[in-house]
């Protein structure tokens, strides 16, 4: 008699009628108009079925975390610091938690002043607090195209005007950003900040090149505007050399850094942090007080215990090993099962691959078809504010076993092939090439269009 929609047979409040709803609608804030439900969300309801292989998540694999270690740490907290762990804490977070933050940041070459750090309820709250502190309705916020889908509703809820800058294999097109800044200046408008995920971007998987990082930081200084560097994946590198974070290049004057324990430890503990220059931090702290007073003290204790154990680097090394294999498995499966017309990014780290299909395929509709084949992905439209991305998709490789990745990609490849073939029949232009062998694609090193995601530059070193 299990029924997920009705836990414990609880009695819900009486249902509202349509007229009630329309009365409520009269009370809604104007900003709720931009909060939309979508066909995609309806379709996603089907992905919960156990037989569906879902490449749609953005999940780290928490099953890799040793339960004994978890139990030992929680026990120690209960025995030694129960009262404190169950109490409110400082809005900025415990010093001990901030020490853990400094350790993680040092691992990526950053040495912020501890006073500039605030512990937040996940990195997501960092995005929210920064936007709350900086954005008035109608202000321009610049981000990448595609951008992290979860940032869009945050920007929208503060009624920002979102402007997206194209990415290519080297991340955000900083030349286009310069043009945009010039245009905005002519119009007498100054963007409040530029939001970027420069390393192993979500959803595109691309990484901003060093040259562009330098230029971006320069631009921020020249224009006195803030860069918001959201960096959840920096330590999840499977190949290539680490690049300095924007925060490190800039020194923290014009860069706000958002980090998280979600991908290197657990998203369930909802622990992240934000580093900002003191004047901005002051506003962020006030904003956080208004939002939730303080971040969970219980999970802050957990992180402290975990870091005290001294194995956190080892754990990251372990998951990196696992994710590297899964990334390889997905890339190989893509080469084998996706049609010649498709292209995709080859990320050096992170959790995602961004695949782009012929423009006549709408991936939201494709998802409906894929779900009948028991496989799911995120349609690309979710990463744009203007309806672009309709022929792209985000694929996650971290949360699913290699075998499932192969099978999932095979199934998606099959439904795409049907659509490609149908397009041929509809237009009298049958696809020139069918699916091509992995070896052929790997060896051809063919020239791909530049400047458009997800094409990778020819000859660039692989992962």
């Amino acid at each position: 008699m299990s029924d997920p929609s009705r836990p414990g047979g609880q009695r819900r409040r009486a249902h509202t009628s349509t007229r009630d709803l329309q009365r409520y609608a009269g009370l809604f804030a104007a900003r709720t108009k931009v909060m939309r439900s979508s066909a995609m969300r309806d379709l996603m309801a089907i992905t919960a079925h156990p037989e569906v292989i879902t490449l749609a998540g953005g999940l780290p694999d928490t099953s890799t975390f040793p339960p004994q270690s978890f139990a030992a740490q929680m026990t120690r907290i209960a025995q030694e610091s129960a009262a404190e762990a169950l109490q409110y804490g400082p809005t900025e977070g415990f010093d001990a938690t901030r020490d853990c933050v400094l350790e993680v940041m040092a691992a990526e070459g950053m040495r912020p002043d501890p006073e500039d750090v605030i512990v937040t309820t996940g990195g997501q709250q960092g995005i929210d607090l920064v936007t709350k502190a900086l954005v008035d309705p109608g202000d321009v916020v610049i981000c990448e195209a595609p951008t992290y889908p979860g940032a869009i509703p945050t920007f929208c809820s503060y009624e920002a005007e979102i402007v997206q800058i194209e990415c290519d294999a080297d991340g955000m097109r900083v030349d286009l950003l310069e043009e945009l800044l010039a245009r905005l200046a002519r119009e007498g408008r100054r963007p409040k900040f530029i939001y970027t995920v420069p390393t192993f971007q979500n959803p595109a998987g691309v990484t901003l090149s060093l040259e562009r990082r330098r230029r971006l930081v320069e631009l921020a200084r020249e224009n006195e505007l803030l860069l918001v560097e959201d960096s959840p994946y920096g330590l999840l590198r499977y190949g290539g050399e680490p690049l300095p974070p924007l925060y490190q290049l800039d020194g923290g004057d014009f860069v706000i850094y958002i980090g998280t324990f979600s991908k290197i430890l657990s998203p369930g503990i909802r622990l992240g942090w934000t580093v900002a220059p003191p004047p901005v931090m002051e506003k962020i702290v006030i904003g956080k007080q208004a939002s939730d007073l303080c971040t969970s003290t219980l999970t802050q204790h957990f992180v402290r215990e975990y870091f005290a154990e001294g194995r956190w680097r080892q754990y990251i090394d372990d998951v990196v090993e696992i994710y590297r294999g899964r990334r390889e498995a997905m890339l190989a499966a893509l080469r084998e099962h996706f049609p010649a017309e498709a292209s995709w990014t080859e990320p050096d780290g992170g959790l995602f691959i961004w695949a782009t299909l012929p423009e006549y395929i709408d991936t939201t509709d494709l998802l409906a078809k894929a779900l009948r084949a028991d496989v799911a992905f995120v349609p690309g439209r979710a990463a744009y504010v203007d309806g672009r991305g309709a022929n792209s998709m985000r694929l996650n490789f971290s949360g699913v076993q290699e075998e499932e990745i192969r099978e999932g990609v095979r199934r998606i490849g099959e439904v795409i092939a049907e659509q490609v073939e149908l397009y041929g029949a509809l237009t009298g232009r049958p696809p020139a090439t069918g699916r091509r062998a992995a070896s052929e694609r790997a060896e051809s090193g063919e020239q791909r269009k530049e400047n458009v995601l997800p094409f990778r530059k020819t000859g660039e070193a692989g992962g």
């Binding site: 929609s5 009628s17 709803l21 108009k33 439900s37 149908l422 029949a425």
Partner: protein
């Protein structure tokens, strides 16, 4: 009475169905019935045999629950159920079949052509597209023949948009419909036990009129019930809806969607199991007729148990 509420399933309208189902369950409980919620899956038949309900309330939308499949199984198990029977469900669900039926009995429905994938893949139907386009004109509406809500429905404003629209529609069904676009007022007539309820008009508040997703969202769409219609308009619209109900063989309840332009009403489709959520049109119509949601659910249940009452 022991009432099984069938909801969910694997159709793209799963979420809507879960909402309809949850709301129906509450109403049934309030009416004093013993409710057995069933999220329809591979164990549907087993569950029904174990639970042995007196009657099933079918709150599933889309393929599987609204196309006669669940109804066929319920027939087989000897469990009475709400809404139209197997044949009517099958006819309503497939828009092409429904439109053929309407056409045969002279109910006005926008001109259309329908093709399955085989026509394009094996019979070169693409070569006839130009002729079809000149017959229907632009914009034309492309939709999956069997599909609910707005999923896969696209406008093609010109010939270049047709292949993409077809591929989208074919993502949901093997057969698609290409239909003349009728520019007019959007109306819905809910029919309960053969009697029409007040007409609902769907009025987009702002934005792209071709944006189907906006359609059923509070704040982006306004509903007017009863719709502001002249006596003659009301009669024409109601007559068309009832004729559709009869032609498709509906029983219990259904909702007929129409467009009204200066030439009169055009029937687009009939929904055998219209949504029963907070924002759905049938409950709104019932409310306008003075029938609260619980009463509506009670009435639908009565109709299932005593078809003669219809």
């Amino acid at each position: 009475m022991r009432v099984a509420v069938l909801k969910g399933g694997r159709s793209p309208e799963r979420l809507v169905s879960l909402r309809s189902g949850a709301r129906v369950e509450d109403a049934l409980e309030a009416l004093g019935h013993e409710v057995v919620p069933i999220d329809a899956g591979t164990d549907l038949v087993r569950r029904l045999r174990e639970e042995r309900p007196d009657v099933a309330f079918v709150a599933m939308h889309g393929i599987g629950g609204e196309d006669g499949t669940a109804q066929e199984l319920l027939d087989l198990l000897g469990i009475p159920f709400t809404g139209p029977g197997v044949a009517a469900c099958a006819r309503c669900m497939d828009k092409a079949t429904a439109k053929f039926t309407m056409q045969e009995v002279g109910i006005p429905t926008p001109d259309w052509f329908s093709f399955n994938q085989t026509a394009f893949r094996e019979l070169g139907a693409a070569d006839a597209l130009d002729r079809l386009e000149s017959r229907l004109g632009f914009p034309l509406v492309v939709k999956p023949s069997r599909g609910g809500s707005s999923l896969g429905v696209r406008f093609a404003r010109g010939a270049e948009e047709v292949p993409g629209a077809l591929i989208s529609a074919f993502s949901y069904d093997d057969r698609v419909l290409m239909e003349r676009f009728v520019d007019g007022r959007e109306l819905a007539v809910s029919v309960l036990g053969g009697e029409p309820l007040p007409v609902v008009e769907v009025i987009p508040v702002a934005g792209d009129r071709y944006d189907f997703e906006a359609r059923y969202e509070i704040g982006r769409t306004r509903f007017e019930c009863p719709a502001d219609l002249s006596e003659a308009e009301l009669r024409a619209v109601t007559d068309a809806a009832l004729a559709t109900w009869r032609a498709l063989g509906c029983t219990g309840f259904a909702r007929v969607d129409l467009i009204l332009d200066e030439r009169g009403p055009w029937v687009l489709e009939a929904n055998a199991i219209p949504g029963l959520t907070d924002t759905s049109l049938l409950p709104q119509a019932a409310e306008a007729a003075g029938l609260g949601f619980e009463e509506l659910v009670g009435r639908i249940l009565d109709l299932a148990l005593r078809p003669a009452a219809a």
